[in-house]
């Protein structure tokens, strides 16, 4: 990986927040169906979020930042999957009991202590991802631990919460969200900051994923599990990488973030060295240079270039665009020459840090968002144009210069934001949430909110969790992966199949079938972990078969092993005739009953095939095929083979 780094020396510490959607029919606080996604909408709603004041009479950092962006927030609604609850026009209904039960089950799997009363809290989010402006969330368990490598991984807490909207677009001052996913129950498991390498992070994500999936009560598929990865290095502070979709992506992201933090600490030292020891030491001046640059060659600064962008992106005044004239703004940063272009994440510079904040907070989003003096674009006359701007902004040789463009008020916000980002840099690493980019780097998403945004949900009564309730769930609890894996492995099942069964939820069914019927574990794993995939792929609706019918089938197959050979036929019967019992299916086709005189029929088939003069190798296949089409599930194949061989030997002897 680019930018090599000694993680131990850097003091890398990573913790996880693993989110996993729970498998319930209905959403968490209303009766809308869960898991029904739509691509279209039949209603739109416009809202704004207003920060609420904290006890000190100040807005909390995240809230203030999000208010500064003055976002128009549009929600796309579809009647099939949202009601007036998701619109924040109806108070919550009593919390989905099944969701709490599944959350408790997960707490137990993760070795947690389950709390006695679940109190619903509101966690504020002003980015619009939830129309209320807060997420309803509650702690269900604390103080858990998992076996991990040669030690234990701490689970600090497990909470159950409602999922947020899906982002459709975020352009300028407009964010558009689809509401279908909103309100679906999910759990968040928070680990201690105990992971020390990117490899450990990936392994821990996979482990927790398998633990959750062992229950069979979680959703699978795109977006059903996501994790936030909290990264810090020695001397730094926690940065949250949000929405990491796959464990394999986490490695590169953690690496890049570790590099970024080490570089930001170096930048801090450099700033201190230059005499910028306090945030207040950073000053900034900005000046409008729209007229000056009107006929410059640098295309980024041209009004028509910006107007083409606005038109191509279909940005509307009052929606995506703020009201006001186009402006190009030069920002002078005294004494900061050379710092804008410093290395940061692998392949990126500090200018990306500035651009990220400007994009999100000032909502200027025409690439490249800014140009700066440390790395001025290379074009004929570029040096001269830069010199003219520097002069207009009164830049001395030790000053850095950043230029931004867009609607005037936004460019002023951008200038202030650049100053704030540098002020943060004097202290090291800002507390922030960063979004994962496909190339393994991250970009600014928002200031990391603190506990200052939590307050009780006065709409929802606390939910009592009696020890009886916990005990009942404990009895039903499946094996965790670290007990199930060796058990399956000892029975001769491949690791690949074991992981598939656990991830896809089949393991729980395997265990039930084996426990109830005494069927062979290896064969059950083979069937549910491998063969069933093929049947499903051939469009057989095997997922409609209930667990009790599977058990009934395996019970019959244990009693009459010959039925195993007719399992495909039996599964098709289970799907096609959901009313008929397994015994009925077997009796209908006379399975398990050996037909009298079948050997004679095999003999006749053999004689016919011989007469046709078939080649030696085809002869056997043909006769065997004919015989088994009648005898499968009634006479074991090995006996049929044996009889054919015997008959042929006899014929050859006679022949």
């Amino acid at each position: 990986m680019e930018g090599s780094i000694d993680y131990e020396q850097a003091g890398l510490r990573v913790g996880l927040e693993v989110h996993q959607q729970l498998l319930t029919d209905q959403k968490m606080f209303c009766r809308c169906p869960a898991g029904l996604y739509t691509k279209s909408h039949d209603g739109v709603m416009l809202r704004h979020m207003r920060p609420t004041l904290s006890e000190l009479g100040e807005y909390d950092g995240t809230a203030l930042m999000e208010f500064k962006t003055k976002k128009n927030i549009v929600y796309l609604l579809h009647k099939s999957n949202v009601c007036t609850y998701e619109m924040d026009d109806t108070p919550p209904f009593i919390v989905n009991r099944r969701a709490i039960d599944i959350a408790i089950e997960h707490c137990l799997m993760l070795g947690c202590d389950v709390v006695d009363e679940v109190h619903i809290a509101r966690k504020q989010y002003l980015d619009g991802s939830i129309p209320t402006g807060f997420q309803r969330t509650a702690i269900v368990g604390v103080n858990g631990r998992l076996p991990f490598r040669d030690r234990e991984l701490t689970i600090i807490q497990v909470s159950v919460e409602e999922d947020s909207c899906r982002e459709i677009q975020d352009r300028g001052h407009l964010a558009v969200w689809r509401t279908d996913r909103l309100g679906m129950p999910l759990i968040e498991a928070v680990t201690g900051p105990e992971l020390k390498t990117p490899e450990e992070v990936e392994e821990a994500i996979l482990l927790i994923g398998r633990v959750c999936r062992s229950t069979g009560h979680v959703r699978v598929g795109m977006g059903a599990s996501r994790q936030d990865v909290n990264v810090s290095v020695r001397g730094g502070c926690r940065v949250e990488i949000k929405g990491v979709p796959q464990a394999s992506k986490a490695r590169q992201l953690v690496h890049s973030e570790a590099v970024r933090q080490v570089e930001l600490l170096r930048l801090r030292d450099e700033l201190h060295h230059r005499g910028f020891e306090q945030p207040s030491a950073i000053v900034m001046e900005h000046v409008d240079i729209t007229t000056l640059v009107a006929d410059f060659r640098l295309e980024s600064l041209q009004r028509d270039n910006w107007e083409r962008f606005v038109e191509a992106e279909q940005m509307r005044p009052g929606m995506e665009l703020a009201e006001g004239p186009f402006s190009v703004r030069a920002i002078r940063l005294p004494g900061l020459a050379g710092t804008v272009g410093r290395a940061c994440q692998p392949g990126r510079t500090f200018a990306h840090e500035l651009a990220g904040r400007i994009r999100v907070i000032a909502t200027l989003d025409q690439p490249p968002i800014l140009v700066h003096s440390d790395d001025w674009p290379d074009y004929p006359g570029g040096t001269e144009e830069l010199a003219e701007i520097r002069q207009a902004a009164c830049c001395g040789p030790e000053d850095a210069l950043v230029v931004v463009w867009g609607v005037e008020s936004d460019t002023v916000t951008a200038a202030k934001e650049i100053q704030l980002r540098y002020a943060d840099a004097t202290e090291g690493i800002p507390h922030e949430t960063r979004q994962a980019l496909p190339d393994g780097c991250t970009d600014f998403e928002r200031i990391l909110p603190g506990p200052d945004r939590m307050y009780p949900d006065t709409d929802s009564p606390a939910q009592l969790v009696t020890r009886e309730r916990v005990q009942n769930l404990l009895v039903e609890l499946p094996d965790p992966p670290w007990r199930r894996e060796p058990r399956y492995s000892a029975a001769g099942v491949s690791t690949e199949t074991i992981h598939f069964l656990i991830r896809r939820g089949g393991a729980r069914l395997v265990d039930r079938v084996v426990e109830e019927t005494g069927f062979d574990l290896r064969r059950a794993c083979l069937f549910f972990g491998e063969e069933l995939k093929g049947l499903r792929r051939s469009d057989l609706a095997v997922d409609k078969i209930t667990e009790s019918r599977w058990c009934a089938l395996f019970e019959q197959m244990r009693q009459l092993p010959v039925l195993w050979e007719a399992r495909r036929q039996l599964v098709e019967g289970l799907v096609d005739e959901p009313k008929l019992s397994v015994e009925g299916l077997i009796a209908k086709d006379h399975l398990g009953e050996e037909p009298s005189g079948w050997q004679t029929q095999v003999n006749e088939a053999l004689s016919a095939a011989t007469t046709r003069g078939l080649e030696e190798n085809k002869l056997f296949d043909t006769v065997m095929g004919q015989a088994m089409s009648v005898l499968r599930g009634r006479v074991p194949a090995v006996r049929v083979v044996h009889v054919i061989h015997e008959l042929r030997a006899r014929k050859n002897d006679n022949g």
Partner: protein, 464 residues
């Protein structure tokens, strides 16, 4: 908040005893160890009075609350103690020399508030200084004065409060304000707006009643925008009547000004819950402009002399007719001393025959019986069917298209003036503030039926 003096607020029975044994109280910062060896560090919160006596609520450092069973608590260590502050530091409301004067009268509930994150408590903001902190936009609109008249939930408003409020409005007008805003809970906002329309007549300035459907401690609250709209309407609007100002659509788009006598809360929780019934609203108001919808209103005129008439008789009630109603219901009301009965009748204003004798007895005893329609839209037209004609003969007074709640408020106010049957009838049928309108325009009844292709197309083209 006098009740906060109890150091174990909300805890009773066993939980109270256990906390006393452990030597900690509400607002103690504690570290609790339970029987599973789990530790919980945070603040002990007050407990809801209706909750059981077996759990202690702790707000953890992460901001989450959890309930811990008292039998599972092994050790508690008090780390500190810091009482919740239910007061917001005030900032001075900036004075603009050229801005209109607006007075905000408080009746209860919260128009604006802020959170104490340490405890999760919601602290109401009411004084101009507090409001400035929560809704700074107000300072650009007016010079704001606030007066807390009383602090009750809207369902606890009653006749005495109405009279006090009317008097306070009179005082403010006398003092020369340019507009009045009344903060009110939404449940009975329609009733208050209706009764004030009778108790305060000929106002020279706008009187705007406002509230919110989502409380102001929520980021998505409609409170701030409603307040901004209401203050703008009071400061700059031209309509010198009692009006309700609440969201038009559920989107953050614009507010509607509804006439006090013709407005009703139509949804238990939606933001756009208030609708003008049987007519169109007066005006659209946004953060930047007014879109007048009618010219039929009393315009602002600082020279007009207000008439405050805060009289009432609270022996009035409303009878929502249902099939099979028995006459004893009416008899019971009369026996209990009620002097006025508003019937919300079926269809054009009907009740069943068996109730007739009871109504006759009531009227004979001097009880005033008036008829409105439970369909809300449309007129009581009792001469159309025999039933209606018979009721008219008995002496039941038809109130045309007056809303039932408005009729109730008006009847209480009228009976504060007179009990003379003819005089009551005359006053009830006279329209003081458009409570009866002669004409119903066809766009006064528009309930779009969802599901129809044309409706769906229209709805999709608009903000919800």
């Amino acid at each position: 908040m006098a009740e906060t003096t109890d150091p174990l607020k909300g805890y009773r029975g066993r939980a109270r005893q256990r906390l006393q044994e452990l030597g900690v109280r509400v607002w103690s910062e504690v570290r609790i160890l339970n029987d599973q060896g789990s530790t919980f560090e945070g603040v002990i919160l007050p407990r809801s009075e209706t909750a059981d006596d077996l759990h202690v609520v702790v707000k953890l450092a992460t901001g989450y609350n959890v309930g811990l069973h008292i039998d599972r608590i092994r050790e508690v260590e008090e780390l500190g103690f810091k009482e919740a502050v239910y007061k917001i530091p005030e900032q001075e409301f900036p004075h603009g020399p050229d801005l209109p004067k607006v007075t905000l009268l408080g009746t209860g509930g919260t128009i604006a508030s802020r959170l104490d994150y340490r405890t999760g408590a919601v602290i109401p903001a009411f004084t101009p200084g507090e409001l400035y902190g929560a809704v700074p936009e107000l300072a650009d609109l007016c010079n704001l004065t606030t007066r807390k008249i009383f602090g009750v939930f809207s369902e606890n408003m009653g006749w005495e409060e109405y009279a006090t409020l009317a008097q306070a409005i009179g005082d403010e007008i006398e003092a020369g304000v340019d507009g009045i805003v009344i903060g009110h809970g939404t449940d009975t906002m329609g009733h208050t707006a209706a009764v004030l329309s009778f108790m305060v007549q000929n106002s020279p300035v706008p009187i705007v009643v406002v509230g919110s459907q989502r409380s102001s401690d929520r980021p998505s609250s409609d409170a701030a925008l409603n307040l901004i709209h209401a203050v703008r309407s009071a400061a700059y609007g031209d309509i010198a009547e009692v009006q309700i100002c609440m969201f038009g659509p559920t989107s953050d788009q614009y507010g509607l000004l509804h006439r006090g006598t013709r407005c009703r809360k139509m949804h238990s929780s939606y933001r756009s819950t208030f609708r003008t019934v049987g007519d169109i609203p007066l005006c659209r108001v946004s953060a930047s402009d007014f879109g007048s919808l009618t010219h039929e209103y009393l315009p602002r005129n600082p020279h007009r002399k207000v008439k405050i008439d805060p009289v009432y008789d609270d022996r009035v009630t409303i009878l929502y007719y249902y099939p099979g109603m028995k006459p004893d219901v009416v008899d019971a009301l009369v026996d209990q001393g009620y002097k006025g009965i508003v019937i919300a009748g079926t269809g054009l204003g009907h009740v069943n025959k068996p109730v007739f004798p009871a109504l006759e007895r009531a009227i004979a005893k001097g009880v005033h019986v008036v008829m409105t329609v439970q369909t809300l839209w449309g007129y009581a037209q009792m001469y159309v069917y025999d039933t209606g004609r018979d009721l008219l003969d008995i002496g039941v007074v038809p109130l045309d298209n007056m809303l039932p709640e408005t009729a109730l408020m008006k009847l209480g106010w009228v009976l504060g003036h007179t009990h003379d049957h003819d005089e009551v009838q005359k006053m009830m049928r006279h329209s003081y503030s458009h409570e009866i309108t002669e004409r119903e325009p066809h766009n006064g009844y528009l309930i779009l039926q969802g599901g129809l292709p044309e409706t769906e197309e229209f709805v999709l083209s608009q903000w919800k």
